[in-house]
Symmetry: C2
Subunit: 260 residues, 2 copies
């Protein structure tokens, strides 16, 4: 069923969700931002919708209000909102509990968390992106599920506790993975070498990890129990205690994981 | 120029190099393995070449002898080899110095290190794979460069010190990255969730990291300085000291890197 929806926030996630939901036949009717200029620019540039900076949105004819704002702002702003009776209010955050969505007891609250990293202005295919849904009642669950299924083949209902674990897993799989690449780039550039040389190796590593499962794709000195290379490499890092510590603890964790 | 070459070792790297060098017009004339059965099977299955388990290969009509064996075996085996006069002996290891190749002073020694992770029996396009070359004299350098350029567009001459740093960078970029994925899979499965859900996020993360450079693609609670989420996630890991420590040190390193 096509829904009329409003966006609260005008950042990256708001832009992507607005775009993909409109493409799926839903109608963006209103955009809120606490900075009026941002709401104005956002609608002028991309959407045919009203806009405003007032938290009283009782006159907005939307059934779903999607908050796509910083995690830390969710609790405060949601308490200030006034929405039409029966409206659904959801946030899009992996790490924020459903219960942070204010205290208005007439509200249908939910979570609509797309598990992806978005780049500004680069359209993305939502079909394979998991949409993680949580809702405080069946009505809200149904609406958010339908909304999700209209843009993705992977709509998953999960508890707040699961979503938290998913977010933590994503920190390891993405944020930390990216930082491992950043460290490797620094090591290369310190010796006048190019990070680009690692591209085929990185691509193949990730491909194998996803195909076989990471626990079947581990290679390197730690899993080989090659203590000589581990010692050598640790020594090469001894000028940088923090990096040496990271090297040591990850290597030890690999050894422990596979000797169990 | 087409070379006649011999392979010392019958593992993964030997198979890949043998295959791609033959496809480029070079001729594999002999295969050595300390286990005769392995050398026999390797040639019978894949190559039209003689084979043997004798380290005296003075009668083998090859100009280049490529060692593709475990790092720790390189020094010992290379000291036992007898090769035709003027032959080139190279190893294929990222972490082993050129000088580990025995002591025979008539030898032209070198390193021919393809920077990739190879899967058994899965042919791979060598064109973008860096081949890292080191050699003890100009003649050897020229031959190994030509050999490299016949299979790859990215032949790089580098010192042993650089190759060591490259190998260390690869441990961070690939071995550690894969382990981050293994950890994330464990976190998910402990809460009955599927690692497959992370696929689009992982793929996009790596894509962005390579496109923009990892230092411009970092996201997550640490770079945002989101101490609340960091504390929460650290607490969620408190049952596992080793994992908590890894989480803490990587997060701290991200904070330090970007606040400098």
């Amino acid at each position: 069923m096509a829904e009329k929806f409003a966006l609260i926030g005008t950042g990256n996630v708001a832009w992507h969700l607005g775009r993909v939901l409109e493409n799926a036949g839903h109608l963006l009717v209103h955009v809120y931002d606490r900075k009026l200029g941002l709401a104005k620019k956002f609608t002028a540039d991309y959407f045919n919708a009203s806009y405003g900076d007032t938290t009283d949105m009782r006159s907005v004819e939307a059934t779903v209000f999607i908050m796509a704002i910083s995690d830390h702002a969710i609790a405060t702003l949601s308490q200030q909102l006034k929405l039409p009776e029966g409206a659904i209010l959801c946030h899009t955050s992996g790490s924020t509990p459903l219960s942070k969505l204010g205290y208005a007891d007439t509200l249908n609250r939910g979570v609509f968390y797309p598990l992806q990293t978005f780049s500004k202005g680069v359209p993305v295919d939502f079909t394979p992106i998991p949409i993680c849904i949580e809702a405080e009642n069946q009505f809200t669950l149904n609406v958010l599920k339908n909304l999700g299924q209209s843009i993705s083949q992977e709509v998953v209902e999960m508890s707040g506790e699961q979503r938290k674990a998913l977010h933590l897993a994503a920190v390891f799989a993405c944020n930390f993975t990216n930082h491992m690449l950043a460290i490797s780039k620094e090591i290369l550039e310190a010796k006048s070498m190019s990070f680009a040389w690692l591209k085929p190796l990185i691509t193949e590593t990730i491909h194998k990890s996803i195909q076989l499962g990471p626990e079947h794709a581990q290679t390197g000195p730690a899993i080989r129990g090659d203590l000589k290379t581990l010692d050598q490499q640790l020594k090469a890092l001894e000028g940088d205690v923090d990096l040496a510590r990271i090297y040591q603890y990850i290597s030890q964790h690999i050894i422990d994981t596979y000797s169990e």
